[in-house]
Amino acid sequence: MTDITATPAQAHAVDQAAPVVRVRSYWQTVGYRLRYDYMTLFFGSVVILIILSAIFAPLLAPMDPYESSLINRLKPMGYKDFLFGTDKLGRDILSRLLYGGRISLAMGIMPVLIATIVGGSLGVLAGFLGGKTNMAIMRTVDVFYAFPSILLAVAISGALGGGIFNGMASLTLVFIPPLCRVAETATSQVRNLDFVEAARATGAGTLSIIRVHILGNVLGPILIYSSSLVSVSILLASGLSFLGLGVTPPEPDWGLMLNTLRGAIYINPMVCAIPGVAILITSVCFNLVSDGLRSAMDVRM
């Protein structure tokens, strides 16, 4: 593989070798590139805005997201105080959207976080130890690769039954294999480089080699990859909730809202599309921020 040039250590070396007056460290270079990447900055601030509005939902929401009202059922957008209308139980959609962000974002971020730790560690271990350990881990991972991601998520949470926890567990299982593979590839590329050999020659232990020399070089690609999975995870999670797996009523969740509002599509067509817009904006922003980070960190995959 010739992609090794993309690892942070090498980029660092190249930076230092270049005849510039001020020598920047790798992370300074990344920060410098990001500062002038207005697209990424813009979408990054939208992501932060979405996260903040989910955290402060109780302060922002105009009404109680659980309170139903018989006389205000299925009202269109802009009816009285209901900016986005109401659902079939007369609940305010804007409030449910704000509260729903909490669950949808948690279901998008948590599985990726756990899978990054578990899958990343497994991959680094497989890549560093090689041999039989590598075989055992990577062949198991290959089996899970044989399922399209949505099918695997549906299979596991379909068997386990609905619920937020089961949904998160199945998504975590979906993301462990790809993260494991990325970590394994990155690690086995670094493993045989001279500086690792040198560290070993000076008597460094396995653990300290992994911690100091391997992690420093593989963390970049792993984190970039997992950041790109957040958008996928949000889409999959709301997909599960849409199918009645994952989040269960009356909890507000974007995917579930999409499903329940769909029942009134002939009465209130426009309102029906709103939760999807929230999913779409969040997913696009996370995706573009991840792309921006990737080019700023100069990681090729």
Binding site: V143, F147, P148, L151, A155, G239, Y266, M270, A273
Partner: protein, 318 residues
């Protein structure tokens, strides 16, 4: 080549085995005793034992697995709990409908995405390229089930020009895509399903075309005095295998990932069958459908890999 095919098959068989183990395990991770649905609440110890024996649940789990595998290999997936019909019949009836959608979606996506991607690959960095890349990003970030709902809102609810659900009055048995009244039913599902492949194939084509254009032989062709249109043919010929491989993979993904779109359009395919199985907790159908879809995915990958190697023998070494 024969040696390579055999080697590749040897690699795929353990994976297929692994997939079958995962599918077998699905029933065991499900909460509750699978017998509870059949047995009356006040069943005596003896009856429970007897029923356990009749269903083979008294044997150790590995033995149960091989008995199950033996049945699956002969095409016996058991009976559906909901309908009592053989699971195999249900799956294969539904599979044809899903293939119709997936194949249609991949063809639509390829036509559109290959054109867009080639244009963008020729003009990397231009406004046109940025627009095309933007479309590609949206293609992969838009929840396709949401697009389905939006299409229903526009074309079925507001304009009332296309049917919102199903396969038409004549049902799936006598469905004929060449008849306009039947064809109307596939339009929205296919467009919805083609969204993700459009994004992915566009990206692939763009980078493949740009890569080919950077190669020395293109310079040589120009130096020889070939017209740009003639060069384009060479570029396409070189970029095509990679794009076709991605297209094939996307077909595999759509086969397994059509559950959301089929649910929206109540399209009686394998995804819809799966959704029904989840709602009714019909575990044999769930297990069988997932196994068949995953094996189709593995087989698609294998075939694409072999075709790609046949076209480009350099890949054999890696």
């Amino acid at each position: 080549m024969t040696a390579y095919i055999i080697r590749r098959l040897f690699y795929a068989i353990p994976i297929a085995f692994g997939v079958s183990i995962v599918c077998f395990a699905l029933v065991y991770i499900a909460p509750g005793d699978p017998l509870q649905t059949i047995l009356p609440e006040d069943a005596s110890e003896e009856t429970i034992l007897m029923v356990k024996k009749a269903y083979g649940f008294d044997k150790p789990i590995p033995v149960q697995y091989f008995i199950w595998l033996g049945k699956v290999l002969t095409g016996d997936f058991g009976l559906s709990i909901a309908t009592g019909r053989p699971v195999t019949d249900e799956i294969f009836k539904a599979l044809g409908n899903t293939i119709l959608l997936a194949a249609g979606a991949v063809l639509v996506a390829f036509t559109l995405a290959f054109t867009l991607g080639t244009v963008a690959g020729y003009r990397i960095g231009s406004a046109l390229d940025r627009a095309v890349t933007g479309i590609a990003v949206i293609g992969v970030s838009v929840p396709n089930y949401w697009l389905g709902i939006v299409l229903v809102i526009i074309f079925a609810v507001e304009l009332n020009v296309l049917p919102a659900t199903g396969m038409g009055p004549r049902g799936s048995d006598s469905f004929d895509i060449l008849v306009w009244n039947d064809f109307r039913h596939v339009i929205m599902p296919i467009i919805t399903l083609s969204l993700i492949p459009i994004g992915i194939i566009t990206r692939t084509t763009r980078s493949a075309v740009a890569e080919v254009l950077n190669q020395d032989f293109v310079e040589t062709l120009r130096a020889k005095g070939l017209l740009e249109t003639e060069i384009l043919i060479h570029v396409i010929k070189n970029a095509l295998p990679q794009v076709l491989a991605v297209m094939g993979l996307q077909f595999g993904y759509l086969m397994g990932g059509s559950i959301l779109v089929e649910t929206i359009f109540t399209w009686p395919g394998s995804g819809f069958l799966l959704n029904k199985a989840i709602l009714t907790r019909d575990l044999p159908v769930l297990q069988g459908t997932i196994l068949v879809l995953a094996i189709i995915f593995v087989a698609t990958n294998l075939v694409i890999d072999l075709l790609q190697t046949a076209v480009d023998p350099r890949l054999k070494r890696s």
